[in-house]
């Protein structure tokens, strides 16, 4: 169960000390991470925390104002942007959307539409699709060109709950079958815990990062999956006031309040995906007024965690 994925391949993209500044303000600073083939890296963080900016810097749409971005030579990117609306004046069917940036064979288009389950919509105009159908179409377009790196900026927006789970399953399947690297932007904790190899929590800088284990089909996982709404709520707590993120048993949002939620009580690890992975590490230290809103108690992996498991 504790198998650690070994990645020997050279990274597709690596960022070192990357910062992007607009109008005198740093949108993000000091971002460091890399994405290897077959790896899912997820950026999480509140609105305006620089998730999209970081992703755009990684694929070269935005130029980094400091630091270095290195991309593998000839890197083929498939991109699903956060906002994309096709003007009504342009007649564009799903089928035509597939070949937007590169020519494809009919079989390749069909395969991508089959994979995303929208083959029956091939001839529909994209303006008439529902939110979920459109996201699937965008995803189909991005994977149809067989990218080395798939960049998905909030791919489940406008998708209902069950559709969301299906889309995340699909993303996992894409990774497993094509072996491409995936950079995922999400504010959904459950996908972070379920499929991601590396989670990077942003808030203008890298707050914390972790390497949860690869998904296991444990009963706990199933339970966590079911209690997803509560998790998401709890995750926002993490974002806003930085009380620690509880595991399923100490989830404050659903009413089960535990005693170990005091400041400096040693429990304020940012994300604790219990049952499947260890706690995340806090990778930087703070000054008392650094403005990132963190609890400043750095918790050594293990000690606080052990206590929580007992709770």
């Amino acid at each position: 169960m504790l198998q650690t994925p070994t990645r020997t391949a050279s990274p597709l993209v690596s960022l070192a000390g990357v910062g992007v500044r607009r109008q005198g303000r740093w949108l993000v600073r000091g971002v460091e991470f890399s994405i290897a083939p077959d790896e899912i890296v997820t950026l999480i963080g509140p609105n305006g925390s620089g998730k999209s900016t970081t992703a755009k810097a990684a694929i070269g749409v935005l130029k980094a104002d400091e630091g270095r971005v290195e991309r593998k030579a000839g890197l083929k990117v498939g991109y699903v942007p956060q906002k994309l609306s096709v003007d009504w004046t342009m007649p564009l069917t799903v089928e035509r959307l597939m070949t937007l940036t590169s020519p494809l064979k009919g079989a390749e288009i069909e395969a991508a539409l089959d994979a995303t389950g929208i083959r029956h919509l091939a001839r529909a105009e994209v303006q008439h699709l529902s939110g979920g159908e459109f996201q699937r179409a965008l995803l189909a377009r991005a994977i149809a060109r067989k990218p080395d790196l798939l960049v998905l900026d909030e791919p489940v927006q406008g998708v209902d709950f069950s559709g969301e789970i299906a889309l995340y399953d699909l993303i996992k399947t894409i990774r497993n079958t094509t072996g491409c690297g995936i950079l995922l932007i999400s504010h959904d904790l459950h996908v972070v815990m379920a499929e991601t190899d590396t989670v990077i929590c942003l808030n203008g800088h890298v707050c914390c990062r972790g390497t949860p284990e690869v998904v296991s089909q444990s009963a706990e996982y199933q339970r966590l999956f079911g209690a997803r709404a509560g998790q998401t709520l709890a995750f926002y707590n993490h974002d806003h006031d930085h009380t620690h993120l509880p595991d399923g048993r100490v989830l404050h949002a659903d009413g089960s309040i535990t005693n170990d939620c005091r400041p400096n009580d040693g429990h304020h690890t940012p994300i604790v995906p219990t049952g499947r992975a260890g706690p995340m590490r806090i990778v930087h230290t703070h000054g008392p007024d650094c403005g990132c809103g963190h609890d400043h108690g750095v918790v050594p992996d293990g000690a606080g965690q052990q206590e929580k498991r007992d709770a």
């Binding site: 749409v61 991109y79 004046t89 007649p91 940036t101």
Partner: protein, 276 residues
């Protein structure tokens, strides 16, 4: 055949309409109608400068229109005024400066109305060659960069992420537009150029299922408007440039009345098929 002034007008007009079709589609898709208008209005400044410096008219108009579009890009990047305000300033400022300059040049006789509303019945054999030569160049360029043009129209960031250069595409598109404006000025006139770009494209939209079909249809509809407008102007003795625009408008209204094959219906049918 081209000895007859009416035949020359027809051939030149059709040539321009075929060129304007695909270009006009991009103007509509990219919501650049007012932008096109601004470039067209600046053509009068080009005319004035050409007369002042005794410089080639076509080249002068092209350079001024291209400069105005670059100026707009620069001002947009500074981000102090909204784009439509900037366009309003540039559009009318260049037109006014052109008119003022022309009025100062008492030593040249200039057919102002001809420049503003076109004089298609006066096109020479050389003009016809120019329209077709320039038109073929423009259409060839559009076909050559079709995919990046479409992709960056849908989403520039997506295009850039997947290895295209939307900024360069945009620049090339503006230069093509400046070229078409320079060519079209003599035929429909500065004030009516954008209508020949936009109206056929808007008419084609309802009958198109892909960008490619829409571009071709817009060309054909534009050509039809030219033919209809010219024969109408002959029959009713009306000014030719405005007559072409009125004919285009007529086709547009006709397209609104006719029952379009809606893809809404097709979509829901496909949906049911998929879910059955």
């Amino acid at each position: 055949m081209l000895d007859d002034f009416f035949m020359r007008a027809l051939v030149a007009g059709i040539g321009l309409a075929l060129t304007a079709g695909p270009l006009g589609c991009f103007v509509v898709w990219r919501r650049m109608a007012y932008f096109g208008d601004t470039m067209a209005h600046s053509a009068l400044l080009g005319v004035a400068l050409s007369l002042l410096m005794n410089f080639n008219l076509l080249l002068s108009v092209f350079v001024v229109a291209a400069t105005v579009s670059l100026l707009l890009l620069l001002l947009q990047k500074r981000g102090t005024l909204s784009t439509d305000a900037l366009l309003g300033i540039l559009s009318h400022a260049t037109l006014a400066i052109g008119l003022v300059m022309v009025s100062f040049m008492t030593w040249v006789r200039i057919d102002l109305v001809g420049f503003l509303f076109g004089d298609i019945l006066a096109v020479s054999r050389a003009d016809v060659d120019l329209v077709w030569g320039g038109g073929i160049l423009v259409v060839f360029a559009i076909v050559w960069m079709w995919r990046p043009l479409i992709a960056s129209t849908v989403n520039p960031e997506l295009a850039e992420a997947e290895g295209m250069q939307p900024e360069k595409t945009r620049l090339a598109f503006m230069l093509l537009m400046a070229l078409v404006i320079a060519i079209a000025m003599k035929i429909v006139g500065i004030l009516l150029i954008t209508s020949l770009l936009i109206i056929p494209a808007a008419t084609a939209r309802r009958f198109s299922t892909s960008p490619e079909i829409m571009a071709v249809l817009a060309s054909l509809i534009g050509a039809l408007a030219v033919v209809g407008g010219l024969f109408g102007s002959l029959k009713f003795d009306t000014p030719s440039g405005p007559s072409i625009v009125v004919a285009a408008l007529g086709l547009f209204i006709l397209s609104l009345i006719t029952k379009p094959r809606t893809s809404v219906v097709e979509h829901s049918a496909a949906n049911q098929g998929g879910r059955a």
